[in-house]
Amino acid sequence: MFRILQRFSPVKRRATTLICARYSTGSKEHIDGLVKEKNLVVFMKGTPDAPRCGFSNAVVQILNMHGVEKFDAHNVLEDEDLRQGVKDYSNWPTIPQVYMQGEFLGGCDIMIEMHKNGELIEELKKAGIRSALLDIPEEK
């Protein structure tokens, strides 16, 4: 039994390598598939319910503040290929990364800045999302 395994393992290993190279989760094709034609996609550390990094948490909190709770989230800590691949994809060196309708919107700093200056409300509108902040009456 052991000998049979030994005999077949090199072939099997090569086959696995080929499959991995072809279907790498970090490839442009794979990430295209994750972000294109999707309204809102976040690549983050941890999950929206349990972020594992302050910057990722900030992005989720900002989206929640605008009433956005439905979005695709991908945990890069579970996938090293994806973690590097998404950085190459957007030519952006850090996680989290937010994509809207296939376009890279920004990381944490940019989301915070756009939240502060009101641009995020406009960006969400472009994606057909009405920010919940518009429904809060302004204090007089």
Binding site: N91, W92, P93, T94, G106, G107, D109, I110
Partner: protein, 87 residues
């Protein structure tokens, strides 16, 4: 090899003609977590994403090992009004 705020500041000063750069090391010395303020006239007329990309471009090599990097990018004019607000 950890980076010091001083060498990162120098790179931004030369690379972007930055008139003011302030980098804080938030990593307690391990050199992998920084916050960065850059003031440069090259940011004028550029959206935030493009400004950040300029900074990322200058520090491309360093950012491979720096895992937390938050930044503010201001034009000289924005920087002046910010200083006046806070004084």
């Amino acid at each position: 090899m950890p980076y010091t705020p001083a060498e990162l500041e120098e790179k931004l000063r030369t690379g972007l003609d930055a008139t003011h750069v302030k980098i804080e090391d938030l990593s307690d010395g391990c050199g992998a977590k920084f916050s960065c303020l850059t003031v440069s006239s090259q940011f004028e007329g550029k959206a935030l994403l493009q400004r950040h990309r300029l900074v990322n471009g200058i520090l491309a090599e360093e950012l491979k090992t720096i895992h937390a990097f938050s930044q503010k990018t201001l034009t000289p004019q924005q920087w002046e009004s910010l200083k006046q607000e806070s004084s």
